[in-house]
Each structure stands twice: as C-alpha cells, then as structure tokens.
Amino acid sequence: MQRLDVLKTYKLLIGGAYERSESGRYLPLRDKKGGLVANIAWASRKDLRNAVVAARGAQSGWAGRSAYNRGQILYRIAEMMEGRKTQFVAERMREGATAKAAEADVAAAIDLWVHYAGWCDKYQQVFSAVNPVSSAHFNFSVPEPTGVVGVLADAAAPLQALAASLAPVIASGNTVVWVGPAAIGASALTFGEVLGTSDLPAGVVNLLVSERAELRPHLAGHMDVNAVVAVGADDAERKQLQLDAVRNLKRLTFWEGPAADPYRILALTETKTTWHPVGF
C-alpha cells in the first residue's frame, strides 16, 4: 500500500505564535509538475495590524535587553539555521533553486547572522560621538533604536535577504513586521520556526507572506510603524511609499540585495544627543 504524503501548512509568525491568516486565505505551493506540495497562509490587512500590535508590545523589552544578550540571541539564530541546513536546501530547491544556489544561499545567510550578531554590542561605539561645544557642557550623541520597523522584501536570494533585512534591524533593539512574497514563503516561514527556538522574545520578528502591493499602503500608512525598509523598490513604488508614509513622517529606507553592512544598523536608529553640564 502506498503511503499518503503528509502536506505541511506554512503558517505566519505573529507575536511568537504560528498562525493561519485571519482571512482564511492561503496560496498553494506546487512542484515543477504542478503537484500540490503545501499551502502557505496568505496574510491580510488585519494580520498586518495584529503583527504591528505584537511588535509594539515587544519593542521596549527587546531594546531593554543588554546589547551583549541581543548578540547572543542573533548568534543562536545562526546556530539553529546551521542545524537545519539540509531542510533549508531542500525547501529552496522545491521553490525552484538549483542545489548549488540553494546551498550557497543558506551558507551565506548563516554567515550574515553571525556578522550582525557581532555588531550588536559594537555599533554604538562606532557610531557614537563626543561633540565639541563652546559652552561648559559634555556633549555626546548615541544611536537608539527607531521602534517598530516594517520590511518589504523581494524574492531574490531569500535566506540571505531575510538575514540582511532582519538582523541589522533587530540588532539595535527594533522590532520587525516583515512582509515577503509567496515565491519564498515556504523558506521564510520555515525560518520563522528557527526563530521560535532561538531564545528570541515573542513579537520581535513577525513574518507575513502576502502580495506586496496589498499590504504596502497599510504598512506605510500605519501611524504606529516608525520606519519602513523597502528592498528592491522601483521609482514608482518609492514615490508611492513616500506619499503613504508622510502622515507620521516615517523613516523610509531603500535597500538593494543582501549585504553585510553596519550602516544598515545605523539607518534604523535615531541619534540622541545629551548636554551634560560640567565645570560647576
């Protein structure tokens, strides 16, 4: 007797819980022959709303962790990915990647997590400054996390893209609502399972799979989102984002492809300058 395959439903990660979409919608994932491999939950506007609430709730606690501890947790994510390497490679191949490309993507992604883990307790020293002022003050500037950040991802090199769009955002103490396309939904949501076992507090990273154009205006217009990162946005989309984001003057950042770059951490921080009286 032939065994029936058990098909997996890929679920969104919202507030530390793995959830189907509130809307009940899903997208089928098919192999090359058109056979059904899995169903992927398809996030709606209300899932986005819930994810922002979860991210806001987790933000102060995450930013309040010691920088060293955040580094440990980011490194732990790399460790957990390493343990699931073969699963990620298989999943990427099912999404259409070649074995070679899949292996390269997974390895590079793990290295990116290690890279940003190292920056967690170092970026402040690099980007802080003691400023010369012509009064009796000790004047210094330090970067602090922006708050809740929305990320609009594209489909290229997904695991590296995930690492390069999540790690620099959460390294400083921001929390994230990540929105990615269905083409990489399976690997992104499997990555969500890695986060569930990496000591990352619930709500710090929220993963949604949906149509970019459907959720973009709601993310950009949301008054409780402090910044939006758009990966691979064309000119028309950039303009639209600027229009949607104007109401609370959100910080807009545009990134192309994955990169190991500490300036990505800086892009999602606010500079706090303190005037401390001296000489009394």
Partner: protein, 302 residues
Amino acid sequence: MADRTYPDFSRIVPIDTVGVEERVARLNTRSIKKSSKVQALKLALSMLDLTTLEGMDSPGKVRQLCRKAVQPIAGRDDLPRVAAVCVYPPFVKLAKQELRGTGVNVASVATAFPSGHAPLPEKLDEVRRCVDDGADEIDMVISRGEFLRGEYAFTFDEVAAVKEACGPAHLKVILETGELHTLELVRKASDISMAAGADFIKTSTGKVTPSATQPVTLVMLEAIRDHYYATGRMVGMKPAGGIRDAKTALRYLVMVKETLGAAWLHPDWFRFGASVLANDILMQIVKQETGVYTSLDYFSKD
C-alpha cells in the same frame, strides 16, 4: 431594618456552563461594520466609567482623568463625554469640583474596597462621607467571605444597609466574580444584590484575576432580565476590568442588546469600568475617520 422581606435563599438557578459559553461564542461571531461600528464605538465611549484605582493616585492624575472624561480627545467637541469618573474616596471632592456642570458623574468605590474587610458601621460611614463629598454613584464590594460561607442574609443586609446610606446616590454592587468560583454563585449573588436594592450590579474590582469575562457577564445580564420580568424594575450592569480593546467592548454591547434589548443600551443602564479601554476606543474611532491605523503616541496616557 427588621422588617425586610428576604428572598428565598434556598433557591438555586441552575446554570448550564457549556450552554453559556456556546451562546457567548455565537454572539461573538456577529460582525458590526462601517457606520454601525462608529455609532457603537461612540456609544461605548459614552458608557465608560473612566477609572483610576491605584495606590499612587494623585490629585494631578485625577484632574487629568476628569479633563479626559469631559473631552476624550483634547480639542474635539464632537465626541461624546464618558459617563463617570471612578476614584477612591479621598479624591471625590476634587473630582466633583472638576466635573461640576459637565454632566459627567463622580463614582467612588467604598466599603473597604477592594477586600471589603471592615466592620459594617465603618463601611456605612465611608459611604455617607463619599455622598456628602458629592459622589453621584457608590461602587460597593460585597463581603465575599460571608457570602461563600453561605451567610446570604448577611450579604442581603449589607447591600440593603449600604443602599440606605447612599441616599440619593446610585449604588453599584461589586460581586467580585473572580472569587465566586461558579456561575451558580454569580447568579445567586446577583439575585441577592438586586433584591436588596442594587441599582447596578458590577462584576469585579479589577484587582482580582479573572475580572470581567463574557460568560459571567451573560449570566448577570440574564439575572437582570429575570429580575425585570419578576418585578418590573430595571437594574444596570457594569462589567469591569479585563476589557482592554474596542473589539471586546462591542461584543459586550451585542450581548446586552440580545439579552436585555435596546432599552439597556444607554449609559444609565450599562457601563464599562475601564482605563486602557478608552484609548483603544478612541484609536478605533480615529481609524474609522482617517482610514489608517493609529498609534498610542497620539493619545493622552492615563
């Protein structure tokens, strides 16, 4: 005091817990959209007892809460004011002074809130003092220890005595359902309180978990309905504590409408005891107006 007619304390109204939960779940599937939603949100806002019951309460905090009660969003006159401000007895005078002429009532907790552990004469003194200071409404707690011991006559006498001490002020009786263990006991406490003269019955102090839940509220609403059928007297309902978002508040309104009818959908007959709920309702109203989700950053913290 001697010529009170007691209700039949041996009567137990059986409650089907599974049935109550099913009924609540069914009512929760009701969807309210667009203009009805905005109307319901504004109604919920007008039913709020804006509450601050902390050990660290200060005159400044009470003053701020009173301003918010009159004008929930600073600078906007088009939103309804809330029903009442609920404070500890030392702040009644101040709240009354701040709210004079605004139509917002002052409610005071009394009778050794939240535990209720004090001799009856002291409780009555406290109630009289609050009413003298200008409280329009008194939120009393029943002595749960006596009630759970089966001293139902004690509970009845206690409520009746406090009602007498209230004079013109309205009396809300807090059952503290989180300590009553079964829905039968919730029903019994509701029946005794209403028979003893309660103008409102209220679920919780907010100091005990669980506080207000929908099944408990439904049981109390049904008690109110049966009391109305038996005596023709309308009694109000106030769930308090644990109602944190507008969505849940609207679900309570659906329960009220379906159990008691539209007559109870009025601040005179239904209240929410809450503090964080206010901002969530305001955020939802602004969301309906502007079309974008809003942030707590733009509302006063209290």
